[in-house]
């Protein structure tokens, strides 16, 4: 792509063929020239769209009515393509379908540049693009779905009628919502299990001799798998050619702004190193730790031990709140030594892994503290583990008891449990924040345990510097993106009431 000051006119109808479908896999990069203004506008608008996709995905059940309606509204206001109207290209008085598709195409590729740089950025980008794709594919009428698949060379083998009949009971038992009648009508595809991992992982499909038997309506999952793989590879390629792009001074500020403003901090650079003392950890765990970390801390104090998963999750969190390597070593050693581990064994076996966390061993990667998504989605706890997200991984009864022990009001507990039932774990944690800090609105969208800690400290008056920094980045977001954010007035009120809060937290 070359960037000129003025826009050049497009030549030829060959461009029209490029956008003959409202949905695409983004296989080919755009080959035209565009203005800087358009470059910036397209990028920002797609980012707004992806951010909406993320928020709606957390607040509503995907594909429910409110979700669909809100998505439609966003598509319409931001002018992204949704309708299939293949023939009706020019809509009077609005953006043409063609223009919408073009914007979709170009904006995707611009955001690739901004989001290819780190693992976390890529993961976020891929997740939102996949949700976006899933929504748009689901929106297509069936004929168009099949059409799209064929045009993109996804030909999967259909299962013969005889085979379907012989496997009838098994197929019905493995695919939700099928009956004997629909079985005959539906097409089933035989796909090697490696191409249907999401369905295999959740046991939503029948497996025989290494093949997954997929009903037509589930084909989206396969398609998404394919989409994710392609995008992941593409981002890796993009990352390699990034230096050339970044050297263009017109683009560099925009691209770095895009990737920082919307994904949030990754807490890899600690701004308060050494400002926390070890004695503060116990009271802090009650006041400012999210439930998962409070739980881990308690388990560590009680058992004088944590398994690997717990050590990683908690250890990195502590690094994120500002513990130095020396403090961390002292902390872990003093606790483990109270248990079955003697100082010698600690130094031999566990100290290495603490140093590893701080990037002082092995690959010397400075590991970043886990975000909520990571804690919720990867490495579920099993027998003897205390890590994970309590809202996700704990039995509701036990969660309830724990919240009661922590003096959360019964109505508050009910609200939390409702959110958990709806699988809105981060919102449940946010509600826990609101209840324990006695505020109506947390004032932020929780997606990282260290964010919980920072916000809590801010609220309790512990970190004036941090507060300023967060405000600044928010203000710049508001300038470019025009997104409304909940007001920060609540935090001021909370500060005034702070006198009572300390006594409130005098539990174990």
């Amino acid at each position: 792509m070359q960037f000129l000051g003025r826009r050049k006119k497009l030549i030829g109808s060959s461009q029209n063929d490029l956008y003959d479908h409202c949905l695409q896999f983004y296989g080919q990069p755009p080959l035209e020239n565009i203005s800087l203004t358009e470059f910036e506008t397209f990028a920002v608008e797609r980012l707004k769209l992806l951010k909406t996709v993320e928020n709606l995905g957390v607040s509503y059940v995907k594909n429910s009515d409110p979700y669909t309606k809100k998505m439609e509204a966003e598509f319409s206001s931001l002018n992204f393509p949704l309708k299939t109207e293949l023939d009706d290209r020019k809509i009077q008085g609005g953006t043409s379908e063609y223009d919408k598709r073009r914007k979709d195409h170009i904006s995707h590729f611009i955001l690739r540049l901004a989001y290819c740089q780190t693992e976390d950025l890529r993961r976020w980008f891929i997740q939102q693009e996949m949700d976006l794709f899933r929504f748009r594919f689901g929106y297509l009428p069936p004929r168009h779905k099949t059409d799209f698949l064929h045009k993109n060379n996804l030909k999967y083998e259909t299962v013969s009628a005889e085979e379907k009949k012989s496997l009838k009971d098994k197929l019905i038992a493995s695919s939700y919502g099928l009956s004997g009648i629909t079985l005959e009508e539906y097409d089933f595809y035989k796909v090697p299990f490696q191409d249907a991992l999401d369905l295999v992982r959740t046991r939503k499909v029948y497996l025989l001799a290494g093949n997954a038997y997929i009903p037509h309506h589930e084909i989206i999952t396969i398609v998404l798998n394919d989409f994710r793989t392609r995008l992941s590879k593409a981002l890796a390629v993009t990352a390699r050619s990034l230096p050339a792009v970044q050297s263009d001074e017109r683009l560099q500020p925009l691209l770095s702004h895009l990737s920082h403003a919307y994904v949030g901090q990754d807490y890899s650079i600690q701004k308060n190193i050494g400002k926390i003392s070890l004695e503060q950890i116990d009271p802090l765990s009650g006041k400012s730790f999210p439930l998962c970390m409070r739980h881990l801390h308690k388990a560590l104090r009680e058992n004088h031990h944590l398994r690997h998963g717990g050590r990683m999750q908690y250890g990195l969190f502590l690094k994120g709140i500002g513990l130095t390597l020396e403090q961390a070593l002292q902390f872990w050693r003093s606790e483990f030594v109270k248990g079955k581990v003697d100082a010698d064994k600690f130094d031999k076996a566990y100290a290495y892994s603490v140093r590893h966390m701080f990037g002082k061993e092995g690959k010397r990667t400075d590991y970043t503290p886990y975000s909520c998504m990571k804690v919720i989605l990867s490495n579920p706890p099993s027998q003897g583990d205390y890590h994970g997200c309590p809202f996700r991984h704990s039995d509701p009864e036990l969660l309830k008891q724990k919240l009661q022990n922590y003096k959360v009001s019964p109505s508050g507990i009910n609200q939390i449990l409702e959110l958990v039932k709806g699988m809105h774990y981060q919102l449940a944690c946010q509600k826990y924040f609101e209840l324990t800090h006695n505020v109506e609105d947390a004032g932020f969208s929780l997606n990282h345990p260290n964010q919980y800690f920072t916000e809590s400290q801010k609220l309790l008056g512990g970190g004036r510097d941090i507060k300023k920094e967060v405000d600044m980045s928010q203000r710049s977001q508001e300038n470019t993106a025009n997104v409304t954010r909940p007001s920060q007035d609540n935090s001021k009120q909370a500060n005034e009431e702070m006198g009572d809060l300390d006594s409130f937290f005098q539990d174990e």
Binding site: L207, A209, G210, K348, N379, S382, Q383
Partner: protein, 425 residues
Amino acid sequence: MPTSDYDPACLPDLLPLYYRRLFPFSQYYRWLSYGGVSKNYFQNREFSFTLKDDIYVRYQSFTTQNELEKEMQKMVPYKIDIGAVYSHRPSQHNAVKSGTFQALEKELVFDIDMTDYDDVRRCCSAADICSKCWTLMTIAIRILDRALREDFGFHHLLWVYSGRRGVHCWVCDEAARKLSVAARSAVAEYLSLVKGGEETVRKVVLSDPIHPFINHSLSVVERYFRQYAIVDQDILGSKESVDKVLAVLTVHIKKELMVNYQDEKNPMKRWDRLCALVEHKKSGSKKGGQYFDKEIMLQYCYPRLDVNVSKGVNHLLKSPFSVHPKTGRISVPIDLKELNTFDPFEVPTISLICEELERPRADEAEEDDMKDKENEQEAGERRRIRDFKRTSLAKYVKVFDRFLEAMARSRKGEMLKNSDLQKDF
């Protein structure tokens, strides 16, 4: 008693003997070369050794069977782990440009460890096992073996006793070795039914429709449940244990059963009562069935795997024929045809087989004559082949041989198929 009292202090003396005269190097090499189809497959394989005094060394690799033997005899590892096949020779990984040294392939592996069942077994805990809880391993093997073969289409599975408290499975099909991290993780999750840690009371949740995989697994569990759980583990005997079992049920059912159990003390009858009650409630309820009885059976018996072991392509796992330093037992392949009679306490220890080696044999005189006519190395091989044959290790090496033969036949079949295809006009 075949154990012949093992003492860890003897390892330094026994291991050299084991590696010189008993370890089945030629079968081992044959396995890991996989027919020589892929170039440098054996050479690029990572091994890790734990030496005396807990010294751990990674990125060991060898160019030939001979080198493997010599190094092992020299280093005398206490533990041997097998890792992945890398893009370059692991022993030279430091010389490779950073980022290009990658793990490419490895067998799909599973590790079933008895400690993961501590919350549901009453006979033992931690590192202990007994004949009562060993049934859990039998169940695990039957369920997983069936699923890996029938559902996933794998053919070449090697089940190995870990030496103390569990079993490992090595899926050696070419397709398995090429699986990505995501695929391995998906397979492991498909096979996982027991979920949750300390905080979860009800670890198995079933709802309609019940997947055929779950039904297959249930039919295996059902075969063993009464004898294993009700009789051997006596889960419906003591109050404490009963409370635990009933904890997963709804309040109504629990109450009714508690009342019934005050009079009914026979555990088997108690279980029957529980099943009957659950069945009764199920047919009465409007929503999808309640499968508490099945959930209980699965929670107490269904295999618990560590997904992390199976996920990583570069994950290192204890090698077959490795010695377990604490028990002295050899990690031997398990013959599935004899699974019902497999007894972990009958597995030979290194002290036993070393002792068996020393016992003189009647026909040895004849064979000594032959020795003079051959060269040293061949004689060494022959001696070694003769050697393990007269120990209790022999039958396990035979199991391994059969496994290798099956893979060889399958490879031959593949080659014929491919060459036929090429000749097709």
